[in-house]
């Protein structure tokens, strides 16, 4: 079964991860711009990060046949850092025009401060200007209140709900999101957030309409194969194949496809690999024989 991981921070992952993901059936990923584990001290660091999301990381993914898209935003945590926040917002108009940018995100709430509110509103307006959907992160602490606050803000701004993906849901927040027209994302994690079996039970209870699952793998303890592993868990619990396919393929494509920029190629298959290609002088190979699929670009 072809799968889409619509939230994964591949800049933090290894080439082994890419190879394993492609082997497991993951054809495309969305990498949301977020924080890097420690606070950035200059706006310039964000700009180089944004360039790597549209450049090097895209190339690295293609080396393993995976289509790489991204979302761009000032993340909620760093919205609280006055040294960078406004400067990052000022960068966004240029980067939101780039071809592989399929949403504004992750925006949303971390500590639920007034600053987070301010930049949330500004970035929702940017999404409107650039005709892009939005990916909204919900907080780890005080999650239910944070989700309610998110929904209230979306409604106050009169933002089209089908263009909103509210992420990192759990048993408490999913019913709230499903009452709206927003998509509901779930991050399947080894220890926190949501696990495969609980997710499968939620699908049994609520069905697959507007349900999205992702690994949200980053630089922490995480598992880039959580989407395929959740497919197995859903099968074990008797979720039908069309329902599973809707969740791991059709829903993310329908959501991010609203950007008009989700170029999945004619057949939505893995890209032909050509590991002989170089980027910025760096091949991803370290002496191995390059894998070249038939149809790989001869340079």
């Amino acid at each position: 079964m072809k799968m889409f991981d619509p939230h994964i921070h591949m800049t933090s992952r290894t080439t082994d991860d890419y190879a394993a993901m492609a082997e497991a059936g993951i054809v495309a990923v969305v990498e949301p711009a977020f924080w890097l584990g420690q606070p950035r001290t200059h706006v310039g660091s964000f700009e180089d990060y944004f360039l790597s999301l549209t450049g090097w990381e895209r190339f690295r993914a293609a080396q393993f046949g995976i289509r790489h898209f991204c979302t761009m935003a000032l993340n909620p945590k760093e919205a609280n850092n006055p040294d960078v926040a406004q400067g990052v917002i000022d960068l966004l108009p240029r980067y939101l025009e780039k071809d592989s940018v399929v949403a504004v995100g992750e925006i949303g709430f971390d500590d639920m401060t007034p600053e987070e509110d301010t930049y949330f509103v500004q970035q929702m307006e940017l999404a409107r200007t650039f005709d892009l959907p939005v990916l909204i992160h919900t907080p780890h602490r005080d999650k239910k209140r944070g989700t309610e606050h998110t929904i209230k803000m979306v409604k106050e701004l009169d933002f089209p709900e089908h263009l909103v993906l509210i992420d990192h849901n759990n048993e408490e927040t999913l019913p709230l999101v499903l009452e709206t027209g927003c998509y509901a994302g779930h991050s399947i994690y080894p220890h926190t957030k949501m696990d495969e079996v609980r997710m499968a039970m939620l699908v049994k209870k609520y069905g697959g309409e507007r349900i999205i699952i992702n690994s949200a793998a980053d630089w922490g303890v995480a598992d880039p194969l959580k989407v395929p592993k959740t497919v197995h868990a859903m099968r074990d619990l008797g979720v039908s194949e069309p329902e599973i396919e809707k969740i791991v393929w059709h829903n993310p494509i329908a959501f991010f496809g609203q950007s008009g920029r989700l170029d999945m190629g004619a057949d939505s298959e893995l890209l032909p690999r050509d590991q002989r290609e170089l980027f910025e002088g760096n091949s991803v190979l370290r002496g191995q024989t390059p894998v070249v699929d038939e149809g790989g670009v001869e340079e």
């Binding site: 700009e47 360039l51 549209t54 450049g55 895209r58 190339f59 108009p93 240029r94 025009e97 780039k98 071809d99 592989s100 008009g260 920029r261 170029d263 002989r276 290609e277 170089l278 980027f279 910025e280 002088g281 760096n282 340079e299």
Partner: protein, 232 residues
């Protein structure tokens, strides 16, 4: 537009108008800098980025200029029209229109920004356009640096089917370009007019590379022979 940049921009835009999708053309005309308008740098680079998806995709695959259009492009200074996708022509027209309205001292900064802050396609388009821009020798450092970066598509945008390096690169940089073409298995036929820039030092470098390959028991690119044979 009366200047050479303006006339070139018009020539490119004539082809773009004949092949571009209607909504994309309408959009582009809002972003093409005009002599009587204000130049907004941020907005300009938004149009430079957005031109890719609006004119690329399907249109690039089908873009085959008619014979008359090819001669018109050649007459406007596009020496290898086949190297230009439709979106590359659009981006070249945007840069030409911008150089037509900006003072000359701002041209290098503008093109440098297009390359450094572009995605791969934007970089390729800006580098393919260098020969068309006014006083192109000013962009030589940018072109040399872009070859150095080794993004294969970006390297090839300068090295292949582009008259710029043969016309403007100093010998040492041109030799590095040719050696890199050999290293990355780019056929030398794609390096525009390389024979006119062949030199003894290049032949020496190619010979050393051949010896290194043989010592390692590896194959030797056939193009090394052509460098040594045609060395003046």
């Amino acid at each position: 537009m009366g200047s050479s940049s303006g006339a070139r921009c018009d020539a490119l835009m004539a082809v773009v108008r004949a092949h571009g999708p209607g909504p994309a053309l309408e959009w582009l005309l809002r972003g093409l800098p005009a002599p009587d308008g204000d130049f907004n740098r941020g907005l300009f680079f938004g149009f430079f980025a957005g031109a890719g998806r609006r004119f690329a995709r399907a249109a690039d695959g089908d873009f085959t200029p008619a014979p008359g259009e090819l001669s018109a492009l050649e007459a406007a200074g596009v020496q290898v029209p086949a190297a230009f996708r439709l979106s590359d022509l659009v981006r070249a027209a945007l840069l030409l229109a911008a150089t037509d309205v900006l003072p000359p001292e701002e041209h290098v900064g503008l093109v440098r920004e297009a390359v450094l802050k572009g995605d791969t396609d934007e970089r390729v388009a800006a580098l393919r356009a260098l020969s068309l821009l006014p006083n192109p020798a000013r962009f030589v450092e940018l072109a040399i640096d872009s070859c150095r970066s080794h993004v294969q598509d970006v390297f090839e945008a300068v090295a292949c089917d582009n008259p710029y390096p043969a016309a403007h690169f100093p010998e040492a940089s041109f030799n590095q370009l040719v050696m890199k073409a050999l290293f990355t298995e780019v056929p030398l036929d794609r390096v525009f007019d390389w024979r006119s820039r062949n030199n003894a030092e290049l032949a020496r470098m190619a010979g050393d590379y051949e010896a290194e390959r043989r010592a390692a028991g590896r194959s030797v690119p056939g193009d090394i022979g052509s460098i040594q044979e045609t060395n003046p």
